[in-house]
């Protein structure tokens, strides 16, 4: 029993689990930030009075949302890095990491856009009419009146997108980010198959610890920040 525990301990000393989770957290943070920015722009395009902008926004969402994330991440590396020789850093590992962020951001921006649009639907039409009636042009109405209320109505669906993004950050393995949890877990199990359940269990619990607070926090925020009508 003592041997077993010390063996298990060695496994987790060999593979730095906390660092692996930290990589996923970083991927999530940066991809989430860019996805939020891009998704907001897409949402503005989709509610704008200009038909061509609406078309571009709709096309982006429908194409990207319906493409598997693994394919987008593989495309990032195979097409952009290896074929077109693009780089986001002179260091290859950093470059992979950044391309993974770009891929995650591009993919999740489509979901952010739809979450914000669902928030826009919680804002009564009269709010937009009142904004237009005092002479605010479209962008000002969106920025000052519609979106601040839409974001508050979109916190819960945005939380779901964030949780999906956190878990999807493991797909960065497909973009050759080898230091994140799913890659590390795979290697750890491959070389220590006798500890399979323990290794798996540690990663599973780690993910629960990461994800559950996000769900609780967004539920709490969505109630607290709800616009009283």
């Amino acid at each position: 029993m003592g041997d077993y525990l010390s063996g298990l301990w060695t496994v987790f000393e060999t593979y730095n689990v906390l660092d692996a989770f930290w990589v996923n957290i970083q991927l999530t943070f940066w991809a989430g930030l860019f996805a939020l920015a891009l998704g907001t722009v897409l949402a503005i395009m989709r509610i704008s009075p200009i038909a061509s902008l609406r078309f571009v926004g709709t096309a982006y969402v429908n194409i990207i949302r319906n493409t598997p994330l693994t394919i987008i991440m593989t495309f990032m590396i195979l097409a952009l890095v290896f074929q077109l020789a693009l780089e986001l850093s002179s260091d290859l590992t950093t470059s992979f990491f950044r391309f993974a962020i770009v891929g995650l951001a591009i993919y999740h921006a489509s979901f952010v856009c739809e979450a914000i649009r669902s928030g826009v639907n919680t804002v009564p039409l009269g709010q937009a009419e009142a904004a237009r009636a005092i002479g605010l042009p479209f962008l000002d109405s969106a920025r000052l009146v519609i979106l601040p209320q839409a974001f508050r109505g979109a916190i819960a669906p945005l939380g779901s997108v964030l949780i999906a993004l956190m878990k999807n950050s493991t797909v960065a393995a497909a973009a050759s980010v080898t230091t994140e949890t799913s890659s590390v877990m795979k290697v750890a199990i491959e070389f220590n198959p006798n500890y399979l359940l323990e290794i798996f269990g540690v990663f599973a619990i780690g993910w629960l610890i990461l994800v559950i607070p996000v769900g609780l926090l967004t539920t709490w925020l969505s109630e607290r920040l709800a616009v009283k009508r």
């Binding site: 009075p49 009564p124 009269g126 709010q127 009419e129 009142a130 904004a131 237009r132 009636a133 005092i134 002479g135 605010l136 042009p137 000002d140 000052l144 009146v145 601040p148 209320q149 508050r152 616009v227 009283k228 009508r229």
Partner: protein, 261 residues
């Protein structure tokens, strides 16, 4: 007393200025429904026009068309000599000069009362914050809700919200004010506090187009009553004339239904 039937012969007791809002041959369809039929209407500077008529007669649509919250199929609408622009900045500029008060108040739900009133002046007119706020407080005092300035709209009664909405529209110093059934969503005991504000506005010479079911307001404050039915302007007259001696059967029928209680 003469009946005002033509636009170029204003015989109402008040001195009327130049034509401010003009609708010429305006038509609009909602699908098969011809909701505005060949509307001709001129509202002069300082005039208070009350539009009444049964539900679905097109009076709200007429009101909303004047600042292009509803588009029209053909015809022309001009405000202060300028035809309504199609879209974009020019339309926004025009809307800034046309105040609008809605049936459902439509105060910005995420902003305080004071911020509701200052938003337009600050963002559209580029008035500095301190000046916008002191002017807003003066307007809120005028409509009697200055003590509520830092509350959120949802904390106010309907009557208070509607008075804030009037202050918000006035803050833009509009050339004309449109009221789209401003008291229809209010509890009965709050109707008068809103009407009082509107009557005082009318007395101060504001040009107003008011869609309403409040006949008392029409009698008290209107220079002219426009009666609409089935998308057409059926009759126009001074209030006394209209209420005591309506010319058309439609108007007689309508008045007999609403004045019999």
């Amino acid at each position: 007393m003469d009946t005002v039937t033509t636009d170029d012969a204003p015989t109402s007791p008040r001195d009327l200025g130049d034509a401010l809002v003009e609708l010429k041959g305006v038509n609009k369809h909602f699908g098969a429904l011809h909701v505005l039929q060949n509307i001709e209407l001129t509202v002069h500077q300082g005039e208070v026009v009350v539009v009444i008529g049964p539900s679905g007669s097109g009076k709200s649509t007429l009101c909303r068309a004047i600042n292009r919250l509803e588009t029209i199929d053909d015809g022309e609408i001009t405000v202060d000599g300028t035809p309504l622009p199609e879209e974009g900045r020019a339309l926004a500029h025009l809307r800034a000069d046309v105040g609008m008060v809605f049936q459902s108040f439509n105060l910005f739900a995420h902003k305080t009362v004071l911020d509701n009133v200052t938003l337009g002046p600050r963002k559209v007119r580029r008035v500095p914050k301190a000046q916008a706020e002191s002017e807003a407080m003066a307007l809120l005092e005028r409509v009697g809700v200055d003590s509520q300035a830092h509350k959120m709209p949802a904390q106010l009664s309907g009557g208070q919200q509607q008075r804030v909405a009037i202050a918000r529209a006035l803050a833009m110093r509009p050339k004309v004010m449109l009221f789209d059934e401003p008291t229809s969503a209010l509890d009965p005991e709050m109707v008068n506090e809103v009407l009082d504000v509107m009557v005082s506005l009318a007395r101060e010479g504001m040009t107003m187009i008011v869609v309403t079911h409040e006949m008392g307001f029409a009698r008290k404050a209107a220079d002219r009553v426009v009666f609409m039915a089935d998308g057409q302007i059926v009759e126009e007259a001074e209030p006394d004339e209209f209420f005591t001696n309506p010319q058309s059967t439609r108007a007689r029928d309508f008045l007999s239904k609403i004045l019999s209680h």
